[in-house]
Symmetry: C2
Subunit: 210 residues, 2 copies
DNA sequence: GGATGTGAATGCATTCACAGCA
DNA sequence: TGCTGTGAATGCATTCACATCC
């Protein structure tokens, strides 16, 4: 049976982003070459893991030398799909929404926030950065016109599932969810969840052990 | 060898927060009892996993009946350590910092944001919600006086490691890091990392597969 | 009958260890 | 010699399956 991209362990894919971040920082420091050992150490991992992870996707290094930093960065971006810009929309322009919208440097990472939506009619028409908040009624047209497949969901818990359903119906394939609720989505849709309170809970637990 | 709390799989601990969130929502709907099956289904997990996870910490259910929702909530809070309020501080009052500070409901989850800090002298003295932004010079005194062990780090990448070192030196044991950089910390300190760009990268990768 | 709790079995991710190449 | 790439071995998490109890 042929190896498909799908049988890569999920934890390995998560680490790809980590490697990319670290490599970008090395590039910034004008480091031209890095070994799996060095990369691993700076991230608190093992060299074998770095090599294995990269090995799922191809051969990028040179024995006896290591990995060329700029080339590996390019390769990782291509693998992740961030070598081209993905148009992204956001629904829910509250505190979190505004903060994320204000974040500079999305574009460098392969994303462009191209549309903002809110259900609250008082927010519609207001400017946030370069963008104007739109009504949810415009969602279908905008998604269509700009070929959007990624959405950031920053609405209150009570509205999250409903808005997610709407997004999916209109063709969104990936949702970054800030609402502290588990979304129910069809197979072909991917959700990533950011839950600040849950992370703090983990910290309390882990710090009270030692 | 005796079982210590430490040999609980990390993924299991992460799911505890998930269970808690779901149980709170069930309590809100006045559901008094829930089976592992039902709880699992609502979270996209298996019943065996729910039982095994809870089993690491004790026996909470009644065979033939299930788990009493309010009791299990209490137990989970005690396990996680969120049955008592943890005083928390934040450094870096930019966009993200302000958004997190504005988040209502920390207290219900077991946290109280009790102090804000920023290096920028122009921000010091300004009010954010009920709190006044303080100078980093005051950090040692505040940590001491309020017995703070948790910190939210929302400073720029360039300052993150330095501020983290300072926090740790003053006795902070857990750091929630929003800066997209891997912090180097001693053994006894725990870090959780929230990286919005990395999550979006994952979405791009996962959605381009199918 | 219906559900928990938990050892045993499985499956998946990590680490080892070494052949092969620069 | 130094480092990659990768099968084999290990270790860890999940799932199975059933004895036990309400």
């Amino acid at each position: 049976m042929s190896r498909t991209r799908l049988d890569v362990p999920d934890p390995a894919v998560r680490r790809l982003s980590l490697y990319l971040r670290q490599l970008e920082s090395l590039e910034h420091e004008k480091v031209s070459t890095v070994s799996s050992r060095r990369l691993a150490e700076s991230l608190g991992l093992t060299d074998a893991q770095v090599r294995k992870d990269l090995g799922y996707f191809g051969q990028f290094g040179r024995p006896g030398v290591g990995y060329e930093v700029p080339t590996l960065i390019q390769s990782l971006r291509r693998i992740l799909g961030t070598d081209r810009i993905s148009n992204t929309l956001m629904v829910g322009i509250g505190n979190i929404g505004r903060a994320v919208a204000a974040y500079q440097g999305f574009r460098d990472k392969g994303f462009e926030l191209v549309a903002l939506f809110d259900r609250d009619e008082r927010k519609v028409g207001k400017k946030v950065g370069r963008l104007v908040v739109q009504s949810l009624d415009d969602l279908p047209d905008v998604i269509d016109a700009q070929n959007i497949r990624l959405a950031i969901l920053a609405v209150p818990v009570a509205a999250a599932q409903e808005v997610a359903d709407l997004l999916i119906e209109q063709g969104v394939r990936g949702i970054l969810n800030f609402a502290p609720v588990q979304l129910r989505v069809p197979e072909h849709v991917t959700v990533r969840h950011i839950d600040v309170a849950a992370e703090l809970e983990q910290l309390v637990f882990l710090t009270s052990l030692r």
